[in-house]
Each structure stands twice: as C-alpha cells, then as structure tokens.
Symmetry: C2
Subunit: 287 residues, 2 copies
C-alpha cells in the first residue's frame, strides 16, 4: 500500500514564528523600542525587487520599521560599503541586509563583510559563519534555520539520523550542514561534482534539496519514509504553461516520503519569518 505522505505546511509553521516575534515586539514597545530593518538593493533586478518588497511588507505588517535603500546599478563597491557603514552606526537600525545578487562589478564578499556582525540578520558575514560552524551563538542564515523547524515539525528528535544536503552554497547548503551536524545528524553534502548522488540520497532519512535544479530529485533518489525539504524554486514551462517547481519531483515523492514540503508554501515563508526573528535577536543583543 502506498504511504500517505504528510505535506508540511510551511505557511502555518512560519505563522507560528511570526506570532512569537509579535509577542516580543509587544514587550519591546513597552520599552519604547521599535526594531528597524534596513534593506539595501543595488540595481533593478526584478526578482530582487519582489523579494525586497515582500520583506518590507511583512516587516510593516507586524510593526518592524523597514528602510529600503535603492542604490544605482552603477554604484561602486565603496558606495555600497559607505551606505552600510552609516547603517552600522544608526541606532534606529538593528538589522542590515544586502539583497543578493549584486551587479558583477561589485565585490560581494567585501560588501557582506562590511556589515556589523551584530546587525547581520542574513548571517552571511565571516564572523557569523565562523560562529555557526563552531556552534557558538550568533546570527545564523534564515533559510536553513527555517528548514530545521520544518524537519522538526515531523520528527522532533533527529539525533543519529542520516541527513543529506544537496548543494553547497554559502546561503543554504553549507550552513544547513552545520546546523544538522549540531543536531547530531550524520551529514553528507552532495553537489555538482558528486558521482551517483542518488546512491547517497537513497540512504538518507532527511534530504534538504538546495541545488537550484528543477526536479533534480526523482522517485528513485528517495528512501521509503524519508523527510524531504525542498529549498529550490524555479519557473519552468510544462504542458505549455509556466509553473513554479522545486528541486524535487513532488508528485513522484508523494507516497514514498514520510513528509515533504510543497513549492510554493514550504520553505519560502520560513525564510522571511527567520529574517524577522533574526532582527529581533539583533535588537536583544543590542540592549
């Protein structure tokens, strides 16, 4: 008999985190503190503009001040860093993030590391990366933190489970591997140079797919009863119409996976919730 897979409701779990953030906000308001989130966007990438608007709207909705700084496409690395330095000093700003990707002529590493690690709500600076690797308290990247919650919503204790992370980006794959290792999982990172990734994923109790390759993960990549977290989101044409798909062939995984996240409505809402949660954490660290 085919297994009935749980569809993990990312919107609902994200809403719980937002509710938590709202409780903290109420406390802070009593102390006359309104958290501020500054978002820097360079150029006119349409996807970036959508993401930035979504962050601003969500912040506004719950009562976090948001400041968006749109910088010209032709700005230099130094121009961007200069803006960051101002924001680092600004007491009304508790979190600073730079929407990626930056134009090619801008030095992304230099820009990211100009952010005060205490305000680095994306968790991408060298310092916060080091802290996460060493399991010390800092600001960790939002998406992998959200993925962990989604996994734990199905199986709260994941100690000793085999986890496979597909993809090794600094934004998702690497920090995800660190987080799962701190949770006592046995972690394997597979990537574009891996031979026979499906042989490795077939041993996985937990799969986090973050390769950015539509429908990469097929039916025969999955072990019966695994948990599948799909970070990918790509727009493809299927049967003549445009659809959003993840890195996992969702239909094929149904009936095999114990639980799986949909795309959209899985990981996406978690990322933005953790951005607001990190902003609150930055406020508390500044007190």
């Amino acid at each position: 008999m085919k297994r009935s897979s749980i569809i993990i409701d990312g919107r609902k779990i994200a809403a719980n985190i937002i509710a938590e953030v709202e409780r903290d906000l109420t406390d802070l308001k009593k102390k006359n503190i309104i958290p501020g989130l500054a978002v820097i966007i360079v150029g006119t990438n349409p996807a970036s503009q959508i993401y930035v608007n979504r962050k601003r709207e969500m912040a506004a909705k719950i009562g976090i001040n948001s400041f968006v700084f749109a910088i010209d496409e032709n700005a230099s690395t130094n121009d961007v860093i200069e803006k960051i330095r101002q924001l680092n000093k600004d007491h009304n700003v508790h979190g600073v993030l730079v929407q990626l990707p930056l134009p090619d002529h801008v030095d992304t590493k230099a820009v990211i590391n100009a952010i005060d690690p205490k305000k680095d709500v994306d968790g991408f600076t060298i310092e916060n990366t080091g802290k996460l690797t060493l399991n010390q308290d800092g600001l960790a990247p939002c998406t992998p933190q959200g993925c962990l919650d989604l996994i734990k919503s199905v199986t709260p204790n994941i100690r000793g489970l085999n986890a496979v992370v597909i993809g090794r980006s600094n934004i998702v794959g690497r920090p995800m591997a660190s987080i799962l290792m701190h949770e006592d999982c046995t972690v394997t990172v597979v990537h574009s140079k891996t031979q026979n990734p499906e042989k490795i994923t077939r041993e996985a109790d937990i799969i986090v797919a973050a390769a950015g390759v539509p429908k990469l993960v097929k039916k025969d990549w999955l072990k019966d009863g695994c948990i599948v977290i799909d970070v990918g989101i790509s727009r493809i044409k299927e049967h003549g119409k445009e659809i959003l798909v993840g890195d996992v062939d969702f239909e094929a995984a149904l009936g095999i996976a114990k639980a799986i996240t949909p795309v959209p409505g899985g990981v996406g809402p978690m990322t933005i919730s953790y951005l607001l949660k990190n902003t609150l954490k930055a406020v508390y660290h500044s007190l």
Copy 2:
C-alpha cells in the same frame, strides 16, 4: 591476491614542507625579518609540555624565533587574555598559539578569540573558521591541511571522490570536512551519534579518522583501494607493553587500503610543519 598498500611517509612529506619554509626564511633574512612564534602554555600538563617543546625545537632548528610563556595553572581567563593582547601588539611576534587543553576554570573560547586572527597560526579563531568555511584566504588549522597533503601524495586529483571524516572536533574533523569539500569531494562526517558508521566508511574512497578512539576503524570498515589517514594517537597496553596506536587497526588495513598513514610517522610530523608554514604566512600577511 592481497593488495600491497602504500605506507605514506609523513616524515618525508613534512620535510618537504620544512624545506619550503626554509627557502622562504632565507628570503626574509635578506630583508632582516626573523619570524617569531609565541606559544602560551597554562599549567603543567605533561603532554602539553612535550608538544610545546617539540614546536620550540623545530622552530629553533630552522631559524624561527620562538617565545614560550608558561603561565601558572591558577591564572584567570583575563590573565591569559592580557598576555595575548601584549603579543598581538608585539612586532617581533607573527604567530600566537595557546597550547590546549586549558585548565577547566579558563574560558577556552574567550582565550582563543582574543588572538589577533592575523597571528592565529592554529587557525582556531571564529574569523579564520568562518574564512575556511567560506573558502576565503586565512589561516587554516594545521592538522587537516597536513592531511590533505598526505592524501594528495597518493592521489593528486580527488575531485568527486567520496570522503568520510570520522570525528567532528573543531581542531580536525570540522575543518577537514570544509577542506575536502573545497577540493570537490563528497564529504560525510560521522561521529559518536552515527548509527553503523562502518556502513558509511565502506563507501569511502578517502577516510580521515580523527575520533581519538584506539583502533576504532576495523578491516570491515574499509573499501578495497581506499586512502586511510589516521589522525588518532593513543597510548595503550598490548601484550604487556605500552604502544602508540591510531584510530585505525593498521595491520588489518594493510592489504585493503591503497595507502595508509602509520602512527607515529604519519600525520604528526605534518601538523608541526604546517604550524611553521602558517607562521610564515602570517609574516607575509603582515608585510
């Protein structure tokens, strides 16, 4: 027919690195620069004293100044940090390391992070950890750097190979995993909470054993033709006499592994060579 395993000669490969360091030293002497390495030892741990002496002797032998600061067992965290701050400012000192472990009452994290990352020749600070994780240039831990050389002495191109790291310490396991991932290996970290580690190591082309458990890795943990790097070194009693053994059952691995490091004479000499190499790197960064 039984395979004839290569015994990797760590002493010889380490000597090549030392020769490289000596060439750089000759260049620096022409510029009247003599590198200085400061070693802090707190208390009277006999093993620590042996290690510190070995570092001092090797430095002296090739013409690096070494300064050993023996601090009283009862010194506070602040006492140790105060010493580090002096050394951070001292222009004759290019590398600073604190011999671990520290007495229980001393905050090891705080002490390590007091070291100027530019002088952190052990590569243990948050900043250098973050840089290694992100594959940015910094000072990386010595032992895993040495292990990579030992692996490459057998198989120069390891892209796409399956590597399993046993142990997840901040000193060896975690940085080793980062280094192997940057080399395009598919990396799995197994540890004390892993179920059936032997099932995972049996798929490994490369095994780095750094668990600190004598003879943990048995014959049936190994795939035919794998490369085995044994970081462990323990003193055990066998047949009535004390012997040094690694994390791998060396005799059992012979004939299965393509290549294996002996204990002693494998990883050990590499660690100290990389300490001196890192010291030189710190000098060049300071110029």
